[in-house]
Amino acid sequence: MRYTDACVYPHPLGDSSLRRMALEAGELGFDSVVAVGAAGATIRGVEIVGGTLLQGRDPREVQAAVRRFGQGSAIPMVNAGDYTFNRAILHIGGIRVLRDIQSSPRNSFDHILSRTAAERQVAVDLDISPLVRGRNYVRQKTLHRYADLVRLQSRFEFPLVISSGARSILEMKSPRDMVALCRLFGLDEEGVGQALMGISRLLHPEKPVEVVE
């Protein structure tokens, strides 16, 4: 069982150093974190997985960026856009996580893209930070979008991951807190557990035949 916080932003993107975030993640009950802009390492038993966050309006730009930055061990993640953009992104090889769907236009991720994400094993990220920082319309919209994603995921079974989106150790959440917050949009404890193991499954997919010895 490997619980991973799928996206944190260490210093200088946030106010906490990578080492401190790793310490905090270990205390909160995580085995690994995906840190944007950091290289892979292991700090006090917590595995740091590098993450590359890509954003662009044109899928071709993103494809070029994936070629440039996505060759290493870092996980390439792309911020979602409109429907056409998302469809193109899901067909680009090398993209592992589609995130920030709550900020994208309505109907930008439907049942067809859900099926594509499942076939191509591209994970969809549920960022907890808008539920904590947001109020009124922002939070309501996020809850609605996440509830829709959970419904689609239960039908099409594309990989789901959960991130705290933390720019500070104060914004990092324990698995227990994530379960409490995910209950708001209908993801149960088992679903949260599966989603927290989502990055581990992306990095080490189960093979039909495995050599044990």
Binding site: S16, S17, R19, R20, L23, R133, L170, S174, D177, A180
Partner: protein, 161 residues
């Protein structure tokens, strides 16, 4: 007035929470208002009336929050959604839920150890900070100055680099 018999009293649940950073200067009332604001924005006034949150114990970076039985899940969600107290960034981390305060206090005796171990002045990236050191390797840096003071969370290794 005669006290109500125990069987007719409302059943309660208690949640032990840890506040980060522990060196922050806030009191129980501030925490209560922050929890109330968070719960009201999530569940509305009806939910708040059902949960009846109350800060029953507060100090040294820990607090015990009371609620009515069967609403502890909603209270945990509300606590996880608190990000500011008196406009200061904090994290309220729920640790354990129990039916009595005594068991939480017993648990607290075993987990305590996040009190600041000392303070000193340091220079980091060309700026002056007051460093609050904790047991282990954690260091919180509070920038010196009158306004826009930055708060950084580092480790001793980060300071040495």
């Amino acid at each position: 007035m005669k006290p109500r018999p125990p069987t007719m009293r409302e059943k309660r649940r208690y949640i032990l929470v840890r506040l980060d950073p522990p060196s922050l200067d806030i009191d129980g009332r501030d925490l209560y208002y922050a929890i109330g604001e968070s719960l009201t924005s999530l569940y509305g006034d009806c939910g708040m009336a059902r949960i009846q949150p109350s800060v029953v114990s507060f100090g040294q970076g820990y607090a015990i929050i009371r609620c009515t039985r069967s609403t502890e899940g909603q209270l945990s969600t509300g606590l996880a959604a608190v990000n500011q107290v008196q406009e200061k960034n904090v994290a309220v981390r729920s640790i354990r839920t129990s039916g009595t305060m005594r068991s939480l206090r017993q648990h607290l005796e075993g987990v305590k150890g996040s009190n600041p171990a000392g303070e000193q002045d340091v220079q980091f990236q060309g700026r002056s900070f007051t460093a609050v050191m904790y047991q282990g390797t954690k260091v919180d840096l509070f920038e010196k100055g009158f306004k826009n003071q930055e708060l950084l969370f580092l480790t001793e290794d980060d300071l040495e680099e």
